[in-house]
Symmetry: C2
Subunit: 200 residues, 2 copies
Amino acid sequence: MTVKAPEETRLSILKAAFEEIHKIGFRGASLNHIVENAGISKGALFHHFADKQALGYAVVDELIFPEFKRKFVEPMETGNPIDRIKEILHKQFEMCCGDPEMMEKGCPLNNLAQEMSFTDSGFRERINDIYEIWRHALSKAFERGIQNNQIKSTQNPEEIGAFIVATFAGLIGASKCACDTDLTKQITNQLINYLESLKL
Amino acid sequence: MTVKAPEETRLSILKAAFEEIHKIGFRGASLNHIVENAGISKGALFHHFADKQALGYAVVDELIFPEFKRKFVEPMETGNPIDRIKEILHKQFEMCCGDPEMMEKGCPLNNLAQEMSFTDSGFRERINDIYEIWRHALSKAFERGIQNNQIKSTQNPEEIGAFIVATFAGLIGASKCACDTDLTKQITNQLINYLESLKL
DNA sequence: CAATATACATACCGGTCGGTATGTGTCAAG
DNA sequence: CTTGACACATACCGACCGGTATGTATATTG
């Protein structure tokens, strides 16, 4: 039996790194802050991760991606796509209202995408892969909706998926900058408006 | 007559700062790089700007805001709002295709919004003011459209404005991350789809 | 029981950061 | 002709950055 499980240490570093990156971005994130908040030493950090970049990639792969999948991708696998998206929007809105800081910090994935895409293709590709998975899941869901006579057959499922992902990112981003749940509500209303227009 | 006009120096600093911030963000931006690219000294920079923050604010106020106003706000002041937005989207798409790096760097305003909003309220308020001006211009344009029997009177102009601003930011952000003009086209198509659904 | 590998902690490193102190040439005002 | 304000340039500062070298306790293996 080990005195301390290394996987626990690794996870505590990942979680502290996620928080730091979520708050002040990857570039601004200080490894000193991270080891401090994780309650471990710098030696431990560099034992588990080759460098800051590898830590950042691991945060995306091992924390952000699974959570994103659980919240946004998996719900699209069954049922009426429009209803599912409405549920996602509703949960998101409730979370914004319940925890204003969550709104102000924005979407961890979109934050990283906008900050790092241009200068670090490793981040860009990882993040784009995640968005692509969501776009694909949405596309498949709307294809299903068309087959089930829930969605107008004249619509292009792929385009719809791309549009929803972009608009959702825009919604979270606008809320973050405005710090205003009224604005969030307005945008959400119009997104629902758009979704309704796709109904058969 | 002065040997060199101070306003020219100031402007060259602002332009170099804008480029640096656009490429690697405000936090990542190095004042050393900026003075180097501006072809001046650090003394000149700190003669014209109190600190890095003041320089960043000046970039928003004096470079980004006027350009944003010219490209997005002023076109909304006359004519059919839907046509105007289509023109903006068309220009944006052409620019993405013509200069891929422009697409990869993303929107300077949205980049700053996502990077700085949470930790610097000065940035957040400035940027939100600019977006608010666009939202208001869009709202007024759609009000006008309703009065001119171009837009369905059942629609809420304010909500439409908020939605378009959010979706546009999402569009640019998605393009930046995906580096794919096909995706840009898909999202643009659906945004136009949405706009058409507002027509009377 | 000795040897080795793992999982850290501590102390430290060169480099870059934002920012400052000080010197200097220019020019308008008195 | 002097003075002082302006518009810089140069040299430098402490703080913090990401990263490393080294030491050590523990667990595993032969």
